[in-house]
Symmetry: C2
Subunit: 429 residues, 2 copies
């Protein structure tokens, strides 16, 4: 660790911006899934989803350079770059979702989605998972349940527990869990209505990643969406984590649940690191919001951001990244299932595509005295760092390993990753 740099960081950005690891890493360059630190050591990145098509991808860099050297301007003038990108992006959605509003982050996107939903419904009530995170604006702080926010949960917010057949609901009947969970949704909606808030929206991440990659009963998300709509609310699908082929089984996470949200919010991987987000919605919703609000986003939809976004779509297609991710994720899952047979303190393998993990317990999962073990999970993460592989952890107890490499991960790299993970699990067993 570079003590001087850390001190200089504390003296400018402050000590609160989170840093990974007991001994933070300082990286200077990267390519594909490989990061090089200040000492020249190379790390395999099995954590970062923002550099979606691979770190410093030359096609994305060249698209940004080329457009930035020609023109970077806002949308008050016409520019074909942003329109072309919008068309190509919208082509990946159900045809009902035919308009896009560009922003600069997932936070701006979710904040805007709330404004649209509030105005459409005339209600303010919101349903969110009881352990989730959707961004840092004040409106989003009021619905933040998965990390520390001083605002606290707003009066207009009801939280619901997301079921997990591979976690808290392990071993229970799927239909019983479904009935119980949707009953909780009904109660939350009734409470919002009784208290005069009405139902404006439900906001959720299709992967339930902050929650710990919950496996929900079949029909749960559809049941949730149906109930919110029946109460007059809108369904906001937050695709910041699950979008752009991350799950390998669908381009958008909500498609895995066989629903079409009313509003889809985008962020992180969209520009491979270039600040880019968006809200995708039906024309009917935009036609309502548009005349009532002079919404203008200075950087949103500038041609350089559009070029970055288009380059991500181009690379995904040219390098067949979704199909590769599907193949790689099958190998990963097979191997993780194998690992599980060797270590009885590992919970069920969770996640979809290239966002996967498992819970780490204090003892055999089958023993009722065993508990989610945050400390052991942390030791695995730190051990992987020592072995130069980046992963992290999530979940209510910080006990679910979070593995989410760039989609560019090859099968060979996945095998290197698995070897080191096996060694780490063995070492920390």
């Amino acid at each position: 660790m570079n003590h001087t740099l850390l001190e200089r960081r504390f003296n400018t950005l402050g000590p609160y911006t989170p840093l990974f690891y007991d001994q933070p890493l300082e990286f200077v360059s990267a390519s594909g899934v490989w990061l090089t630190d200040v000492n020249g050591d190379r790390y395999l990145d099995a954590y970062n989803n923002v550099p979606h098509v691979g770190h410093a991808h030359p096609h994305v860099v060249e698209a940004i350079r080329s457009q930035a050297s020609a023109l970077n301007i806002h949308t008050r003038y016409l520019n074909d770059r942003v329109v072309e990108y919008a068309e190509n992006l919208l082509a990946t959605f159900d045809r009902r979702l035919d308009r896009v509003m560009f922003t600069n982050s997932g936070s701006e996107s979710n904040d805007l989605a709330f404004r649209i939903a509030n105005q459409h419904t005339g209600h303010t009530g919101v349903l969110v998972s009881d352990f989730s995170y959707h961004g840092h604006t004040r409106a989003l702080a009021e619905v933040t349940t998965g990390l520390r926010c001083d605002e606290g949960i707003g009066n207009h917010v009801r939280t619901i527990r997301i079921p997990d057949l591979d976690g808290a609901d392990l071993g229970r009947s799927e239909s019983e869990v479904l009935t119980e969970s949707l009953g909780e949704v009904d109660s939350a909606i009734a409470s919002l209505q009784e208290h005069g808030f009405g139902v404006s929206a439900v906001l959720f991440d299709s992967l339930f990643s902050t929650e710990g990659l919950n496996r929900v009963p079949g029909g749960y998300v559809k049941g949730l969406a149906d109930r919110v709509r029946a109460a007059g609310g809108l369904v906001i699908g937050d695709e910041v984590q699950s979008g752009f082929g991350r799950t390998a089984s669908a381009f958008w996470g909500h498609q895995n649940h066989r629903i079409v949200p009313d509003l889809v919010t985008l962020g992180k991987p969209m520009g491979n690191g270039h600040p880019l987000g968006g809200v995708v919605l039906p024309a009917a919703l935009l036609d309502e919001f548009g005349p009532r609000n002079m919404y203008f986003n200075t950087f949103g939809g500038n041609p350089v951001s559009a070029a970055a976004g288009q380059a991500v779509l181009d690379v995904m297609e040219a390098e067949d990244l979704m199909a590769r991710a599907a193949a790689t994720s099958r190998v990963v899952r097979e191997q993780l299932e194998l690992l599980r047979t060797k270590h009885d303190h590992i919970g069920p393998i969770k996640g979809t595509g290239l966002f996967f993990g498992f819970e780490v317990f204090s003892g055999p999962v089958s023993e009722s005295a065993s508990r989610p073990d945050a400390e052991r999970t942390k030791r695995i993460v730190e051990r992987m760092r020592r072995d130069r592989v980046l992963i992290s952890r999530i979940g209510r107890d910080d006990s679910v390993l979070k593995m989410r490499p760039p989609l560019a991960l090859t099968i060979g790299e996945a095998e290197m990753f698995l070897d080191r993970l096996f060694a780490a699990i063995q070492a920390v067993a």
Copy 2:
């Protein structure tokens, strides 16, 4: 105009995103203060402040390319690029303002400043100008007075009229206007306290640009800040318009008013078009907010954004842009004063540095029947477009010409601009 592109835009982004001019312009490239449209025609840009050091500046483009091709990652790892930029940015502020939180836009910055102020004071009450705009998040929609927002003004918001010695208060005694205006501030504060909101913050743009570049009485801003602080509130200086040497007389707009805000918010010109913003604040405020909130901004402080921000500072210094802007703005102001002697329907020359304008009236300013003339102002803007110069208009009546070229404008280019402006004023007289 390219009809097909316009239709394609409407079918993807919708028809509500504002477009300039009756016949929108489509630009394809730019350099310095010159934009080239799809027909190859060149326009002198006397409007855009985002490309602060000049459109597509090669040093900024190369800084972005170079860093993007090496590494783009979030702040959970150490990186010297972001720390170095933070140090250089903070060096431009009063030493009390010694911490920065990076964001991706002015909207994210102002939203965050509100969170910090609310938490610090334990109050929610906000004072804003009665014709202003500070961003598009929901928290900011509730304080938006200068454009259409469906939310309406929040109950916790009090609006104050910003005096204008060259506008509504023309001809009145400066001390009388000062007393009256600060009395209005006192009343607004008293109302917030009576209604139990207390005073959290005042948020203002030092140039009062949306309002129409108001010339406030000497001591007004200081009096406003003093009163808000005496009531326990914080002073938020929005430098999105007035910062980075725009006024030529000071690097930060608030310095022209001889105050140091508690929170300074940054956006637009900060990355010359790259999405970049920030909140600058004293360590004491960050030390309060930091432990209470796990604030993490995914793109905020990434090394590519930092490289773009650093490049803007570098170019400003290398090309001596503030001193040049000061010299250029003197020529502009002299010539505009001369123009005013020839056209009696032009109000006092307004603004500071390279953000200037004047109100256009229906008849001689001296005649009491004369009114701000939005239609005539629009005709001037459209005539300038025909003559290939970009300007716009602002103010409560849309009757103040808004001229705000990139800081890179040379004196020669300023003279070309002035020639065409003189011709347009003559033609639309």
